[in-house]
């Protein structure tokens, strides 16, 4: 399984990618929707974890763009707010289980990824 993490907070996505990698999940990271679009042109990802509020292109806008060229990709959304508005926006796109509020618990994140992709058998080693 290959994951793409997209969040404008570089320290967050880079550390999260490293922690996923320690657990045997191959994760790349970028800090903008534009960089994400470039990345998915050259790499196939099973799932993207998208920050909902990013400069210039929101997570929901990015999802729509990716969907046009990689319709098989799945998504999880992260948000700092946890507002009802964010929840309904995200769940209307991917269902109620696709929504995580920061700070994210890595075990919960992996459980969500596994639930969606159903193929993770790794652990912290």
């Amino acid at each position: 399984m290959k994951i793409l993490l997209v969040d404008d907070e570089q320290e967050l996505v880079s550390t999260l990618a490293e922690r996923l990698s320690i657990r045997g999940i191959d994760a790349d990271w970028v800090t903008s929707g534009e960089d994400a679009m470039e990345k998915i042109q050259v790499t196939t990802y099973d799932l993207a974890v998208l920050d909902m509020k990013m400069p210039r292109m929101s997570g929901l806008e990015l999802r729509k763009k990716i969907q046009e060229i990689k319709p098989q990709m799945r998504y999880l959304f992260m948000t700092g707010h946890g507002s009802a508005e964010d929840f309904y926006s995200a769940s209307s796109e991917e269902g109620a289980d696709c929504y995580l509020v920061k700070p994210v618990n890595i075990d919960v994140l992996i459980a969500k990824i596994t639930e969606i992709l159903g193929q993770y058998t790794g652990s912290l080693n």
């Binding site: 404008d8 210039r56 890595i106």
Partner: protein, 221 residues
Amino acid sequence: MHANWELIGRVGLTFYGKMSASISHEIKNVLAIINENAGLLSDFTIMAARGVPIEPERIKTISSKIAEQVMRADLICKNMNQFAHSVDDHIKTTALDELIAVVIKLSLRFAANRGVHLEQQASATPLSITTSPFLLQNLVWLCLDKAMDLAGEKKNVSIITKDVENGVIIEFKHSGTLQEESGSSFPGDEENALASLLKATMEINDDTGEIILRLPLSIDK
């Protein structure tokens, strides 16, 4: 002329809510980064217990990153505190450039979301005015918000303060031109209500869209 307190109250609450939401969003991001770095340290200790060697330099780097985020949170809280205390005194003698600096810091996330670069050009000599700090912050935000809307493709906005006879002016220069998007007029009812209380005048240049706010040195209590 009577002040439209209902409108001013609504506008003020909207402003306060918007800024508070932005601040809490920033704090959440800081907490998320600290959470991941603390988690990574925890991962390393589990790995070490299983015999995986750990480089001390990595631990040092992670520790520095956590300290950086604590400093970042401290600055966010300092700005939030300054903003919150702006309602303490209805009228107060205030350092104008400091007040604008707080609004700019609070607006950085809104600017980033629109890809706009903000720049403050403070006056050569420190400017103090006796005014309502909260209402002025609100009006500065509304002008800044409009200037960001108008900033065009280059997306630059400068806030410039100048000393003039019997008052000060705040200029909101931007890299775009005046475009009346969606028919909204500026200044509108909200800006005019605030300007009236602050005894300020506002104008927007028909060609450049530059917004100029003129304020007296003092308003009555």
